[in-house]
Amino acid sequence: MSTAATPPPGPPLWLLLELTYRCPLHCVFCYNPTDFARTGAELPTAEWLRVLGEARALGAVQLGLSGGEPLEREDLETIVAEAHRLGFYINLITSGVGLTAARIGALKRAGLDHIQLSFQDSTRELNDFLSSTRTFELKAKVAALIRAHGYPMVLNVVLHRLNIDHVGEILDMAERIGAQYVELANTQYYGWAWLNRQRLLPTRAQLERAEAVTQRFRERVGGSMQVYFVVPDYFERRPKACMGGLGSVFLGIAPDGTALPCHAARMLPDLDLPNVRSADIRSIWYDSPAFNHFRGEAWMKEPCRSCPERARDFGGCRCQAYLLTGDASNTDPVCDLSPHHHLVTAAVERAAQAAASAVPTEHVLVFRDHRISIEPDAGASG
C-alpha cells in the first residue's frame, strides 16, 4: 500500500449553496438527485447565514448560489447581503424565472457580483419542451434586465443530442442578446440526466459538427465574446480532474444541510455525509470521514494507483465510477486504461443507434418532477 504522506488540505475556497431543490423548470438533464423530494426540510435563513460565516472564516471566498432555482428562496437578498458583508464574491446561478426588475435591483444593492443565466436552446419550442415549461420569452427579458443592471451577460447552455445541432442558432441568439461569455456545456450524466442518458448522449458526428460551428463563430466575433465548449467526457480517453480532487477546494451544501464534496456525492454509498445542522464547517471540512475518504491517493485502485497521471486527474470522477461500475473507488471508466472503459464506449455506441432510429423522444424522456421524485414508479414506465 502506498504510504505517501498526504499534505493537509487547504481551505474550501469554493462554496456552493444549493439553497432549495424547488424549481419551476423540469429539465431532463438536471443533475439534482432523483429523490430530491424525499430529502429533509430546507435550512432556515439563520442556518445559511451561520454556514456563510463559518466557511468564510476558513477562507472560502468564491460563493455560488444555486439549487433548484435559488430565486424560489424569499430570503435570497438577505443571504446575498450577509455574504457580501463577509467578503465573498457572489455568483447567482439561475434559470431567470422569478428575476423581476425589483428583485434584481434588490440583489444588486445587496452586493451580488455576478449572474449566470441558463438557456435550454435558441428556439422557443425546444427551450420550452426541454424544460417542460414556457420560459423562452421570459429569459430574453431577464437577459435584458441583467445587462441593464451593469452585469456581464453570461449564458450557460446545456448541450445534448436534442439541441446540439442548433449550436449555430444558439450562438447567434447569444450574440443578439449581448452575451459576453457563453458556456456550451455538454450534459454531465448524473441525477435526472443519468435516467435520460441514452436519449441525451450526442453522436460523435454531432459533436464534431458542433465544435466546427463553434470555431467558425469564434473566428467571426473575435474578442467581443468568449465561447467555452465543454466536451462530454464520454468522448474522451482521459477523465476530468473532477473537483480538483474531492475535498480539495469545493464544499457544497444541499438544501437540507447535507455537506457535499462534489455536486452529486449524495449518491455515493461509501460516504456518510455530515450535515451542517449537527456539525460546524471546520469539523466537516477537516475532520469528517466523508471529506477525508477520497483525499490523497490511499483509496485508489489499479490502474490509478501506479499511474503517473494520477496526480493530474485524481482518478477522475468518483460518481461516474460508481454509476458505471458500482464501486466509487474504481478508475473513472472514461479513462481508456480502465478495465471498464468498454462501458463508456458501449453507451456511446447504443446512443448512436438510438439516434439513428425513429422513436419519438417525448415519450421516453423523464422530466425532473416532484411527483416522480416522491414515487419513482410514477414516471419510470414511460
Partner: protein
C-alpha cells in the same frame, strides 16, 4: 477589436481593475486574490502590490513612483510595465481615460 492594447500603456494611462472583478486581501491565503465570475487568481507579493495600486485614479508614472518609495528601490519601471502589460493581456486590468 476595440480593446485597449498594451501599446497604449503610456506613463499617463490610468489602469484599473475591470468592472465585475474584485481585488482583495485573503487572510487564509496570505495573498491578494483577483476575483471574477466563477474564478480566482492568487497573486504573488509583487503582483498584489502593483494591482492594489491600480485604482483608475493613479497614473502609471505615479504607481511606479509609489512602489519605488514603498520598497525603497529605484529603477522599477521596467518590471512594473512588463507586469501591467501582462495583466492587460489577461484582462485583469483596463485603462481609464
Amino acid at each position: 477589436m476595440t480593446e485597449p492594447s498594451a501599446s497604449e500603456l503610456t506613463d499617463t494611462a490610468r489602469p484599473a481593475i475591470p468592472h465585475g472583478m474584485r481585488l482583495q486581501w485573503e487572510e487564509a491565503q496570505q495573498a491578494h486574490v483577483l476575483l471574477y465570475p466563477e474564478g480566482m487568481v492568487k497573486l504573488n507579493g509583487s503582483a498584489g502590490a502593483i494591482l492594489s495600486r491600480c485604482d483608475g485614479a493613479r497614473t502609471v508614472r505615479e504607481i511606479v513612483a509609489d512602489l519605488e518609495q514603498a520598497y525603497g528601490a529605484a529603477g522599477l519601471a521596467g518590471d512594473v510595465l512588463a507586469f501591467l502589460r501582462l495583466a492587460l493581456e489577461k484582462h485583469w486590468l483596463e485603462l481609464r481615460a
